[in-house]
């Protein structure tokens, strides 16, 4: 298991607990695909200063080739986290942490507009 974590991931997934939130976020955020919603969750986690780490129990949902076909996401993550050696593992972690942040229980949908409005302007 330790050996596995020394190389970056070839697939990205979300934990079973986060599947519902991802679906809800994709619907509420009017995203065309759940990949866009996952990236949005990742960005929310970055914006909220979620610490680096890894997520256990995330299944296989996307190949990195389909998730980040031009490698732009990887390059951005590397730029934001220069010390990170396994950017896709970090991406997966950030997605799952971001989804948790959106979890307001089943009664309330994720607040997509609020997240956008709360973003600090550049």
């Amino acid at each position: 298991m330790a050996a596995e974590k020394t190389t970056d991931k070839k697939t990205i997934g979300v934990t079973s607990g986060n599947e519902r939130i991802l679906a809800s976020l994709a619907a509420e955020g009017l995203f065309s695909t759940d990949i866009e919603a996952a990236k949005f969750a990742m960005a929310h986690a970055i914006d909220m200063d979620v610490k680096r780490g890894t997520t256990d129990g995330a299944g296989t949902k996307w190949n990195v080739g389909s998730f980040d076909s031009d490698g732009a996401l990887k390059a951005v993550v590397e730029a934001l986290y220069p010390e990170e050696g396994q950017p896709y593992r970090l991406v997966e972690h950030l997605i799952n942490e971001g989804l948790k942040l959106f979890d307001k229980g089943s009664a309330l949908p994720p607040d997509v507009a609020g997240t956008l409005f709360a973003t600090k302007s550049a």
Binding site: G29, L30, E36, D47, V76, L116
Partner: protein, 650 residues
């Protein structure tokens, strides 16, 4: 001259038990004072019930007999009510008694249809047979003109319809006005002569058929006469149907007016529902727009971090680029590829080259590493800049703000719809929708009938032309044997034309007389000095005329009231039938100045005037001062309980 002598009530509305009042035989005014809900309108209805068997509530709606039995008396077991009216008319004394009681075998009465109202009429103390009683009653006061004798001041605005040709009430009132003015006496004569003319033409046709020379024309004339009969019958039927439909339309309009608030709520709900539908469509379009714009939303969230990272990477790129360039130059100098220094352009001696070689790290490794790092920095920089280029948080915020605003608007309107629906009962909505359906249907039927009547009239005109043509030919051909029939026809024709013209002349004269009298009353009643009088139109509608000669196109409710009272007074003056006036709420929304003038003028409007007022609108002291000797008696409607009022003479 019709005069009321007394009225007796038994368990009628608020008037519990047996109560009565006499009206003085002298000319003048009797005032009944009563606060709201004491029974002033009920008293007006007592006259109406006795004369016509009808009780009318607000908005001309018929009131159920079941609700008119005094409630306290009903609780004590009473099941009927009665009104007795003593009158004098044309030198005879009458006593009219009308009783409302449950229909036999109807069980416990629960509604209007469970009751029957019977009457009997006594003349000089003898009960008249039913048929004769009906004829006498119709002669004493026809129901069609009752509006000019028994009226609610609050309904005087109905007379405004006389100014507008597009209402159904206007023609009805015009007919009633012509009736009270006695025009029907002349129009009936004209119609009788028309019948005589038609019969004379028919006789001419029959006579022509008997002669060989004129038989063909006689046959044609007979066919035309028969066709005319059919067309005339059609016309009568259509006109009768039209009148019925117009009455229904007026009734529905009244009903709809009463349900105005409900209708307003329904209209508002439907309008809001339409707006919510429109908003849903807009929201759907906006969602599509947002859906297209959300792909780079993730980079919009972290745009500040991307900007910082770009700055850092640019700085690092510059650093690395300088280091790589410096290393390349030094290598070149150390290896002697360059003869002179690229900065000072002086020749680099061998000792200096050796010194540079000593300073340089051994091998190419560090330069390659810097090159690789530079490549990585540039790759990341390209990615960062690409994301910055597509991230536009402001545009996304605007899209979402717009969507949220529309959603809020939609929720607000939906909440309003819910509130309205709480106020709408299912029955009320269905009834109103039913009324509107009926109204639309009646309007369509009226339009179709009017078209039919127009077409029938055109056919009748064509028929008349054709008949006239044939008559002329017959006159040329016919011999002496038809002379008597032709003379009869010519006589009938001339008489008919004479009466036809006289109806127009008389109508015109009546209008002028009504206009002059109404103007006189109006000037007595109004406090506005700039008004010179009233101008009448063909339907007896009255326009106020300014002293500069121009019409006043828009007038207040108060002005309408004064104009309507002036018309009623003028009609009383010119009526064939003179009688009492009983007025409920005579002052409407008029100010003190107008009220005083009305009180002063009222005794001139009719020999016998009964006013139903509350003390605040006409304080007794003011009534006594304004009417002086013409105030004949005063009565109070005194409260005994919420359901019991007593008539008390003052």
């Amino acid at each position: 001259m019709l005069r009321i002598k007394s009225l007796h009530l038994k368990d009628f509305g608020a008037f519990k038990g047996e109560q009565a009042f006499d009206l003085p035989s002298d000319e003048g005014v009797t005032v009944f004072y009563g606060e709201n809900m004491r029974g002033k309108t009920t008293l007006l209805n007592a006259f109406r019930f006795a004369l016509f068997g009808k009780i009318i509530g607000r908005g001309r709606r018929a009131v159920s007999f079941h609700d008119m039995i005094n409630w306290e008396a009903r609780a004590d077991g009473a099941r009927s009510f009665e009104v007795r009216l003593e009158l004098s008319h044309a030198g005879a004394d009458y006593r009219l008694t009308r009783t409302c009681r449950p229909k036999s075998g109807a069980g416990a009465p629960a509604g209007h249809s469970d009751y029957v109202a019977d009457y009997y009429l006594e003349r000089g103390g003898h009960i008249l047979p039913a048929q004769q009683a009906a004829i006498e009653l119709e002669r004493i006061l026809p129901e069609q003109i009752a509006r000019f004798f028994l009226f609610d001041g609050e309904l005087l605005q109905e007379y405004e319809d006389l100014l507008h040709g597009d209402t159904d009430m206007g023609p009805k009132i015009s007919q009633a006005i012509e009736r009270i003015l006695g025009l029907p006496t002349l129009t009936k004569s004209r119609d009788t002569l028309k019948l005589a003319l038609d019969k004379a033409e028919e006789r001419v046709a029959v006579a022509a058929q008997g002669d060989q020379k004129t038989r063909e024309f006689g046959n044609q004339l007979q066919s035309l006469v028969e066709e005319r009969e059919v067309l005339t019958q059609d016309l009568f039927r259509h006109e009768r149907d039209l009148e019925g439909l117009r009455a229904k339309k007026v009734a529905i309009e009244d009903d709809m007016r009463r349900r105005e608030r409900m209708a307003t709520l329904l209209d508002k709900r439907d309008r809001l529902a339409g707006e919510v539908g429109g908003l849903q469509k807009i929201i759907s379009e906006k969602k599509d727009d947002i859906g297209k714009a959300m792909a780079p939303a993730w980079s919009a969230i972290i745009r500040p971090r991307l900007v910082v990272a770009v700055t850092a990477h640019r700085a690092r790129e510059v650093e690395l680029q300088s280091a790589v360039t410096r290393a390349q130059v030094l290598h070149s100098l150390a290896e002697g590829h360059e003869a002179s220094c690229p900065t000072c352009l002086q020749t680099v001696p061998p000792e200096a080259q050796a010194k540079i070689r000593a300073m340089l790290p051994s091998g190419q490794g560090s330069t390659d590493e810097a090159q690789r790092e530079l490549g990585g920095v540039r790759r990341r920089l390209d990615a960062l800049e690409a994301q910055l280029a597509v991230s536009n948080p402001e545009a996304l915020r605007l899209l979402w703000a717009d969507l949220e605003a529309k959603r809020l608007e939609m929720y607000a309107k939906s909440a309003e719809i819910e509130e309205i629906e709480k106020q709408l009962t299912g029955d009320a909505e269905d009834e109103l929708k039913g009324l509107r359906r009926d109204y639309d249907s009646i309007v369509r039927q009226i339009a179709a009938l009017e078209e039919g009547i127009k077409a029938t009239n055109e056919k009748l005109a064509g028929n008349a032309n054709y008949r006239d043509n044939i008559q002329k030919r017959l006159d040329k051909l016919a011999g002496g044997q038809m002379d008597s029939e032709r003379r009869r026809r010519d006589m009938a024709s001339r008489l008919y034309e004479l009466f036809k013209d006289s109806v127009d002349v008389y109508r015109d004269q009546l209008r002028h007389r009504v206009e002059a009298d109404a103007s006189r009353y109006f000037k007595l009643l109004t406090t506005e000095q700039d008004y010179a009088g009233l101008r009448i139109n063909d339907s007896y509608g009255l326009m106020i005329v300014h002293r500069d000669g121009s019409d006043i196109p828009v007038r207040s409710a108060g002005a309408e009231h004064v104009v309507a009272l002036s018309l009623v007074a003028a009609l009383q003056n010119n009526a064939q039938l003179r009688g009492p006036i009983v007025i409920d709420s005579p002052f409407g929304r008029l100010d003190g100045g107008h009220r005083s003038r009305i009180v002063e003028v009222l005794p001139d409007m009719a020999d016998q005037v009964v006013l139903l007022v509350y003390e605040e609108e006409l304080p007794p002291a003011r009534a006594r001062e304004a009417l002086k000797g013409r105030l004949r008696s005063e009565w109070a409607l005194e409260r005994q309980s919420a359901r019991h009022t007593e008539l008390v003479k003052r």
